[in-house]
């Protein structure tokens, strides 16, 4: 938790709107992963990143290793995007450390 800080801790979005989640690191992260924990509790890997950006459908993620942060952008939020988003950072393939999560609620 302390090595990886996520913001905001909770977020409510109207369906169809956009938002961004952020992850700040106090470690010299070389890779970042983003996960979604759905309401059933399953953890689903969304992105694995080295410094740079990746995009998948309505999701886009960026990782800046020099400034020690990563972002996850959600475009055109849908009800099924609801859940808790976690980022995890690793330094040179050490074990990933997780943030405390951002709980996202998408409302119709």
């Amino acid at each position: 938790g302390d090595k990886v800080k996520q913001s905001p801790s909770a977020l409510s979005l109207q369906e169809g709107t956009n938002s961004a989640l952020r992850c700040n690191f106090s470690i010299a992260a070389t890779t970042v992963q983003w996960f979604l924990q759905n309401p059933r509790g399953s953890l689903i890997n969304l992105f694995y990143l080295v410094p740079g950006t990746k995009e998948n459908g309505r999701l886009k993620s960026a990782f800046d290793s020099k400034e020690s942060y990563s972002t996850l952008h959600i475009r055109d939020a849908q009800l099924e995007d609801s859940g808790t988003y976690f980022c995890a950072a690793s330094n040179n393939n050490n074990a990933p450390r997780f943030g405390a999560g951002t709980k996202l609620s998408v409302k119709p």
């Binding site: 938790g1 990886v4 996520q6 890779t31 992963q33 996960f35 509790g41 399953s42 953890l43 890997n45 694995y48 976690f86 995890a88 690793s90 393939n93 074990a95 990933p96 450390r97 997780f98 943030g99 405390a100 999560g101």
Partner: protein
Amino acid sequence: EAAVTQSPRNKVAVTGGKVTLSCNQTNNHNNMYWYRQDTGHGLRLIHYSYGAGSTEKGDIPDGYKASRPSQENFSLILELATPSQTSVYFCASGGDREGQNTLYFGAGTRLSVL
């Protein structure tokens, strides 16, 4: 299909009892991890392994042991369970041939220590 399977899915234990949580992966990954999830803390690293026969301490190892007897299996052992170990425990595997350590998680084990 490659998968990470945890057993049991739910467990109720008594204080002072021994609890073993099991994890099996068919991903042929070298790395395996045990995390616990508690409200407000995200996932915290307990133990991990780089391969059969290896175990490493994570950030909160006290009260837990780990065992990696094979590439596929990684167990978490609570020798003397305490109520503070009531939590949801997740196992993950990672480390493909390209060197990418994408984590794949099991469904979790909900442990209650009474």
